[in-house]
Amino acid sequence: METEVKETKGQVVSAENPGIVAPADWQPVIMGILCNWCSYAGSDLTGTSRIQYPPNIRIIRVPCSSRVDPWFIIKSLQTSADGVLISGCHPGDCHYISGNYYARRRFLVTKKLLNFVGYHENRIQFSWVSAAEGPKFAKVVAKVTEDIKKLGPLHKYKKENLK
């Protein structure tokens, strides 16, 4: 069961810690981990097509979505990120044949587990974006950014250095 995201005027309330609020113009940091062959290429296409999307995402290139170890997600959420977006090739299209199938299983379990221990599920998002889907990448980033803006700042289990 998910708690409803609170709508507050002029402020953003953290979905996990209702005590924490941020100004309405608060900007989240989103860690984007993209596979080299599909999603990174797709994001490049977004660029070449000059399709605009929110600037909150910071992109890391990995060879394949299967390179993404769940602790990338955990570590991101523990440091600067307010949300994580991981993107790979569509099922069946993996450059490395089967990488994204393995990744998909890990992602589901990680997402559910993090949700179970108290992270809003929208903080951890996944997408399949092919090299040809420049517009889709922009849409995905826009959606994730919007989702996370609603969730407010993340303070759970952040490393002490950041406080």
């Binding site: 979905a15 996990e16 523990q78 108290g118 997408s127």
Partner: protein
């Protein structure tokens, strides 16, 4: 459930036939009704062996230590323990030919309060799945049910659930007993302790505990057999099973009803895949 006699007989026989160098079983604790592991190396110690419904620990944990390495080992395993053994066999940590396995068709063990333990109530496979010799009557595979605690917590709101887990991570003292008592945590050096990895979180802060426990539970996802050695070992009495049972539930419901260690050569849910795996959570 009292198989003391049978186990003693088998152990004596094994020693007499020189089939084993070491026998891992349970022994009565001197001063209370708990049982502790005993690593029998001489036949004279065989009478100390015991097996009742207080034989709670998962003895396969001892297969990862230097005392049993490359030795011929006799071991007593209950249903859940045998699944752990299956995992160890699959992951090449022990050699089957070195083992003489006494499988127990378990009827459930008791917790400290003398009640049937929760994991036994929810046990899917009380019978040993790996054995050379079987004791007791098999009762067959049981219906899987979602852990009651997980169900209860999942029904709560996000914030409330978060606060509950915050307590867990705050009360963790990072002694790593959970890891050491887990038969499937046999890594040469745990990733959480590797100073080379920038992962390293040596401190005992909630954030470090969170990181360590999350990593740990994800490494056991699809492998954990729910023996609850970790929980029994935890000096802070943390309900660690919540993490494992949550993962188990997600895996069971989404990945072809996968349960760890039921078959040999099943490496766990993360080491295989299906085209039919859920895709709806991905944009």
């Amino acid at each position: 459930m009292d198989y003391t006699k049978q186990i003693q007989e088998i152990a004596s026989k094994l020693f007499a036939e020189e089939k084993i160098d070491i026998f891992i079983g349970y022994r009565q604790n001197a001063f209370d009704d708990n049982q502790v592991p005993i690593l029998v190396t001489v036949p004279a110690d065989v009478p100390n062996l015991i097996f009742t419904d207080k034989s709670v620990l998962n003895l396969t944990n001892y297969l990862k230590f230097e005392h049993t390495r490359n030795k011929r080992v006799g071991i007593v395993v209950k249903g859940c323990d045998s699944r752990a053994l299956n995992m160890l066999l699959t992951e090449s940590q022990v050699k089957r030919e070195n083992l003489y396995v006494i499988g127990i068709n378990c009827t459930g063990v008791l917790n400290e309060k003398g009640e049937k333990a929760q994991n036994c109530l929810e046990c899917v496979m009380p019978d040993a799945v790996v054995y050379d010799e079987m004791i007791g009557t098999p009762s067959g595979k049981k219906e899987y049910s979602v852990n009651v605690d997980v169900k209860e917590l999942a029904a709560k709101g996000l914030v409330e659930r978060g606060e509950y887990f915050q307590e867990i991570f705050e009360n963790c003292i990072r002694c790593n007993a959970c890891r050491h008592s887990c038969p499937l945590c046999y890594c040469t050096k745990c990733c959480i302790d590797q100073e080379s990895a920038v992962l390293y979180n040596g401190s005992n802060t909630p954030s470090s505990a969170f990181h360590a426990l999350m990593t740990w539970s994800l490494h056991l996802a699809g492998r954990c057999v729910d023996c609850r050695n970790c929980e029994k070992a935890c000096p802070s009495h943390l309900p660690l099973h919540l993490l494992h049972k949550q993962n188990e539930m997600v895996i069971y419901e989404n990945f072809q009803q996968h349960l760890a260690g039921m078959e040999k050569d099943d490496r766990g849910a993360f080491y295989k895949y299906s085209m039919k795996d859920p895709d709806d959570f991905i944009m």
